[in-house]
Symmetry: C4
Subunit: 311 residues, 4 copies
């Protein structure tokens, strides 16, 4: 099978060699890049809010909630707690009662057992209620942003394999949709990067695109085995198992798809370095038909392989 | 009419034969696939929230609302209901009064007839109000997600028909927009799958794409009759009525369009198996012009057909 | 200038002739189509909420708000207004006080001057507060949907003109962005429909696409004059002023663009019938450079033309 | 390197010469255009709300909040402050107490220390609470709109440079992503505009597209040096440093990319006039590999250059 001619690609990566450089992309799709920038240009509260872990999100929201209320408790104390009608003198310390008054104001629950009197305290409370509504607006917005952001949660096989394919061999990967929605118009691109000596004997890093048997499938209902046939024109023709290690190979797999539930295009990527490429194996089919005639897909088996003889 | 050459397509479906296997896609576009996955990878609260039925949505929201309040009522009882000022001793049981206090806190209505005293009860109430705001934020977000999600509610003819077309015959479907918005740039793709014996005499399942008279229309204002002309190069040339049943045919119709109201691309699909294909029929035009000069489209008539002679 | 070859287009319109049929598309882009469908399939609350007029939106929201509160006032009266603590017997009628209690519950303002007692009234109030939060969630969602929906508010010239163009004539339109955001990647398609006698002498309606000088501009910062050169291969070559009327011509202009503010693709369309086509005119340039060196675009002048001699 | 043939482009800009005309696009991507339009067609509250500066946004929200409450305070005074139960006669002026009652109503905090009595005051308060909820819905919607709007915050080099490139020279720009998200499928287009005498000796403004070494990169993880090789077919072949000034050159750089975090396409642009083009320079690489093997990108160094000899 002849390799198809594909347009020249520019990955946007650096081609200088540094001996201790880590892989460019980690298996989870993140980059080994450190950015130095002004704090305010680099940081976006919303971006952080929708991309951080859930635990961090909830801790941040709670922390902001409690901090603001401690601050307002202190303000009400400074103005004078006697301006809050309903403060009980023989009960818990006034600071705590101011704190609870603040909680009741910020959340707009406003029981009224405690309520403000006097211009300063009333105005502060009015501002705090306003601030509370806007703060919860931000929390709501980021919460919705987190939820509604389409993320292609693809399950990539942990390994790339070199497997027999027709009368040659092929480099193979397998992917599956790791959550329930439908992914349609799924497109794959495969690129390889390796170390080579140039004409002057210097190490340089080369980047090439590897053509695939199919670049697109209509729908990712089950799994997709992505295949680069190692034919006459393949850049990795005649490479031995050892070559993949010594040439410091990194394979970049880019998947684009359309999430039917969220009606948006999503991008995903993974990378495979030398020791993650298994020489002489074939993937085990992770689905079967049950008695009811339904196809059963077992996601934990995606990427399982068994050793085999190469052509 | 010669079949146009189309790019090879990969539907992403399995081509192994299992005799009891159900159709791949149901008429409503869902798949006969069972997924086995870790619960937390598979389940997304938001995805469930925006795709479940309305009745399930409201039941879930109400259930969460009531459960949380029963829980907090129990917490307030544990701390001691005497910390809620306004509890009436000669009225309904304290547990119920705690429950109502909880309702008033969770919704931030906070009348104040009941209001908290003491550090523990006040802090709990402050946390409950926070939790209430975040819970309603989630409910609001999923509600908005449900509403704003673009869904191509296409009405597909319940049957595919084989109809006379020019001097040959054609396989035809008809679709219409089942709700009021405008669908523009509507694209159709038709694929067929059937059972065949391979060279060694084993049953295999074949997949092919069937070319269409038009693959795209500008706008789906009325109806669109999708036509595969059964010409010299058609894969289904010379197939008899019986062949569609015996070859266990499944026709996959994929529609992509752009929803003008929501400004998003939407995908839809349907499938037709052997007994849903009517041999020798033609569709009845479901619209007419009224006295006011307007074109009247009757959606209940979309897909109606009458029997006819084939060429 | 030779007409470019363009792909055959299917507008999705009906080609049967009905003598009293109105134009297919109105100048504002709406269709003269009446849809008959089940109410629940046809109607979507959200779609209505984001596409109706602002006045209708606010009236609907207010109407729902007031109706629900009258209903709950009646429920509280049925349970017994003595269960609402704070009802004043010598003041306004109890029904009104129940209504105001309901308002205070539904909006979660809950002053507490009136507050519920007893299981039935307390539970009803708890449910009403829940309902209020969800109702305002719907109102908020549709409000956001209205706002955030990208609409290409294009200003089309009210007339198409036939103007001199190089050494031939051309059919011209002019469009401008009618609000402040940036429209980029603006694409135009022009189609014509006219009445003709077929081989058997029957009236049929023909549809053809008219090629344009430019089908796309990078950015709609000022205005865009859309030009169909009436060259040797044009379908409307040699048509006289009268032909446009007698052939019952309808020109369909479709504009697609990308709204930079909302980051979404928007579609717009207009239509021009015979008497809206001016024979022998040229558009007046609606912008000039002021002393500060800025280009001043006067939108009210977009589409102004003056009569001129044709080639 | 031969210039590739590119499709003819129409930027949608004016080609008339006005001697005092400012550059068409400023470096920040804004236009030097003044629009004259009806206020209500031109202005969109939402568009303003999501595109104005943060300081303006917060001032506007606070101003609306305070104004509405002053208005309602005046209404409550007009009805008679004796209808607000809890007004203290020996304390701050009644107008202020009405104002605070209004604050507590508008935010739905409703302590109840002040609460309405009588039909008119109660109904007004009910309406104000409704208005408050809708106002905060608008504020929340615009807040979310601000946050969630994808903006390509690209850092463009402040200068275009003419640098040696292989055995010829090239016009170069460098861009980097100025915030943390991933930009994928990044596409660049370069256009030039300059002043020239036409056949009759009149000044006209010409627009041409300049082909690039790469028009697209897969991912903008580090920086992208955009290169127009000044080969035999380049429009700017043999131009001297002075030509760029005298011909009143303006270079338009358009970048389109896909923001992975927001899952939306974003457009960005910049412009470079004569004195912003440095003749004989090369960009300094703004990243290096640290001891941990990570690539460190220093954004403040993007666009730094050093002088060099041209080919």
């Amino acid at each position: 099978m002849a390799a198809k001619k594909l347009p020249i690609e520019n990955l946007g990566f650096d081609n200088k060699i540094d001996n201790n450089r880590k892989r460019t992309i980690n298996q989870d799709g993140s980059f080994n890049i450190v950015r130095k920038n002004d704090f305010f240009r680099e940081f976006s509260l919303y971006r952080w809010g929708i991309t951080c872990k859930w635990s961090h999100y909830w801790l941040a929201v709670l922390f902001v909630y409690i901090s603001i209320n401690f601050l307002f408790a202190w303000i009400y104390m400074s103005i004078g707690y006697e301006n809050i009608s309903g403060i009980r003198l023989n009960a818990e310390p006034p600071y705590w009662q101011c704190f609870f008054f603040s909680l009741q104001t910020f959340t707009t629950v406003g029981y009224g057992g405690l309520h403000p009197q006097g211009i300063l305290t009333s105005a502060t409370a009015g501002f705090e209620a306003f601030l509370g509504l806007m703060t919860f607006a931000i929390a709501t917005g980021t919460l919705y942003g987190r939820y509604s952001r389409p993320i292609a949660r693809l399950r990539y096989s942990p390994n790339a394999i070199i497997a027999p394919f027709k009368d040659i061999n092929a480099l193979m990967f397998v992917i599956a949709n790791d959550n329930k929605g439908n992914l349609v118009e799924v497109t794959a691109k495969l690129n390889i990067s390796w170390k080579e000596k140039d004409a002057k004997g210097n190490d340089i890093r080369k980047f090439e695109r590897l053509p695939l048997e199919y670049e697109k499938i209509n729908m990712l209902a089950l799994t997709w085995t992505i295949v680069h046939p190692i034919g006459e024109e393949s850049f990795i023709k005649n490479w031995t198992e050892n070559d993949f290690i010594e040439k410091d190979v990194e394979l970049f797999l880019f998947i684009t798809s359309y999430d039917d539930t969220f009606a948006q295009t999503v991008h995903s990527r993974s990378s495979f370095v030398g020791h993650e490429i298994v020489y002489g194996a074939k993937f085990i089919r992770p689905f079967h038909v049950n008695e009811a005639g339904e196809t059963v897909l077992e996601l934990s088996k995606v990427g399982n392989y068994e050793n085999t003889q190469l052509n």
